[in-house]
Amino acid sequence: MKPMSILRILNAKFALLGAFFGVSTGLATAAPITLNFWDMQWGVSEYAVAAQKIVDRYNQEHPNVHVVYRSVPWANWFSTFTTAVASGSAPDISTGAGFQAVYFFSQDVVLPVDDLVKEIGEDAFVPGTLDACRYQGHYVSLPWGVDIRLFLYRKDILEAKGQKVPTTWDEFRAVCKAVAGNGVYGYVSSGDSAGVHTLFVTSINNGSGLFAKDGKPALTSDRTMEALQFLADLVKDGSVNPASVGYQGFDAVASFFQGKAAFLIEGPNMPAQAPADVREKIGILPPMKSKRGDIGTNYWINSVMVYKQSAHPKETMEFLKWWSDNEKPVWTDGHMASFPARKDLLKDPYFQDNPNYKYAIDVYAPISKTIAAQKGGTFPELNEIDGDAAFSTLIQQLWQGKPLNQIVPPAEARLEEIMSH
């Protein structure tokens, strides 16, 4: 073959290649942008189905953007997110644990959503929820759900033993003691992070928490120690199911549903997840007066965050705004234990006609605080505290009946270590 012919053939091939890539580029430009949305498994199986439907609706209404929905299990959630971020494969947007966003913001992983909050309006959110997302003058995520922890009780167990609904810690202790026996206990909890909520709820109830107002660790403060003593007294009375040490959160819920305990700390809509014949037997305790006569409980503000690794931050923010405006079905069809952070959604009959939701919204929400109490606001260390084994160890040892003077100092030392980072 002549050299000239070879050149011609090569030219023709390059021309074809050029035409192919030209077409490909043209197609790529026309193809929709893909956004990855990682959503935690917030409740029963209906939740993910409802969330997927909303995403499908968004995709239909926005042909130039394609949102891929992925339901993320809570097991090892933190390693799921950190390894994704560390390997450069973070989602564009995600829901997450209460203090995930502020920690990620401190690590330069998520974008502030200040403009979005401004656009929606600060008044659109339940009071206090935005404070839980504000750090260093920025909104690190968009408040989405309010997850209150409160005492649920079994009406049938109290009635069977002729007990009134307790309104103070002293009454609670007496009722627990009165109902215990024959495989039934006053209180059931767990040895995992759900069990640690008991510590948060009772210490905030007693006007304290993990921190003093100046932000210093306060696990050994008088008020928090009183809360721990209250729990230790319940154990001493034989009112706490000893299996709580080894239980996980769902074991404790199952035990409560089976009528083996009179009280449990959970979310307001948890009764909806009970078997049909049990639902009506469950009630919410009115806020109890603590040893100091205070009332209060612990809540978690779950939020949605946008990742810096996103190649399409503008479109992601637009999707977040749309999601926040159109999220109603995830609550009404998804049967969550928590309720929305958007005030307009709370007016929906789904919440107003549900006595448990309504009670939690009207009575408990105004007296709830995050684990940042009594300092307030939010800070990255809370994320580590939220999952640290020192606190699950503390609660396990508490349920084992070990003396407070042995088990609290190591947890306090760990808290100080975390705060000194």
């Binding site: 950190t82 560390a86 690590q107 040895g191």
Partner: protein
């Protein structure tokens, strides 16, 4: 005089060997050497997975070796490994000897005995939680049926440790049994005949014929079981998440907690390297033992 390098390079077929080996070598470098080097770098650094910090020398190792958590985890890991090896070797050898003798229904038993090994760890451990989880669990019902008081197996440190060990033995013995059965079947029958002619009792045959013949495979099996026990995350985590009160927290769970609970990847990596070093020392001594006549 030719140097070593010159001699090796000059060997016929050297280039071919290098070419043939290079894919494997590259694969080993990619999946073992690179992660190990990265892990070592992390163990000498501060920071988290999201924001790696600077070089801090051996500070993580010093901190780890001064931590009571490390010694608690080390103690559990050693006890867990020793108990598991002893338990599953005894059980595995006992069943293998019975199988070799030819019990009726041997095929069925062989499949049944293999089940614990085949069942996924999640299913196995969650099933055990149902058996011992609380006072209405199956085991406690049996205890109560015999007039006993229920035991809160996962609430008391001692009981939780015992249950974790039992589950591990239950899950591990089929492998031991299968391997030892194969070793027993490969022993030359003439040795037993010779021993019988010399008047050896069954116990003496076991002591002086069987055990020496399965010595090497036993050392290798114990070595593997030790590595698997020390590196076992599933059993103590799925059963009790390292609890109660860290009673079943081994070195692997400790490394996991440092890395993901505490966001301290340096301490997590240091824990892993100390574990690796400890295992390598043990492997070295056991392999030396195996080579001894």
């Amino acid at each position: 005089m030719k140097g070593f390098g010159t001699t090796v390079f000059a060997k016929p077929g050297f280039t071919t060997a290098v070419i043939l080996l290079s894919p494997s070598l590259l694969l080993v470098a990619a999946v073992i050497a690179y992660p190990m080097a990265l892990g070592l770098k992390y163990s000498l650094s501060s920071g988290s997975l999201l924001r790696p910090g600077g070089f801090i020398g051996l500070a993580n190792y010093v901190k780890l070796l001064n931590s009571p958590n490390f010694y608690n985890a080390l103690q559990f890991s050693v006890g867990f490994a020793v108990a598991n090896i002893a338990g599953c070797y005894t059980l595995g050898l006992g069943i293998a000897l019975l199988m070799q003798k030819g019990v009726p229904g041997q095929g069925v038993f062989r499949v049944l005995f293999l089940l614990p090994w085949i069942v996924p760890s999640l299913v196995a451990v969650v099933s055990w939680r149902w058996l011992v989880g609380d006072e209405s669990a199956f085991v406690n019902r049996i205890i109560k049926a015999f007039g006993g008081s229920p035991i809160f197996f996962l609430s008391t440190s001692g009981w939780a440790i015992l249950i974790v060990i039992l589950i591990k033995i239950w899950r591990s013995f089929p492998f031991m049994m299968l391997s030892l059965l194969a070793a027993l079947q490969s022993i030359d029958r003439n040795l037993y005949e010779a021993a019988a002619i010399d008047g050896a009792t069954p116990r003496q045959m076991f002591r002086y014929v069987t055990l020496p013949q399965i010595r090497n495979i036993s050392i290798v099996l114990c070595l593997m079981m030790m590595i698997w026990s020390v590196n076992d995350f599933d059993t103590p985590w799925l059963l009790a998440q390292g609890g109660p009160a860290n009673a079943t927290q081994n070195l692997v769970i400790l490394a996991y907690r440092y890395t993901f609970d505490r966001n301290d990847v340096g301490m997590g990596a240091a824990t892993s390297f100390v574990t690796l070093f400890g295992l390598m020392v043990l492997v070295f001594f056991l392999l030396r033992l195996q080579r001894r006549k």
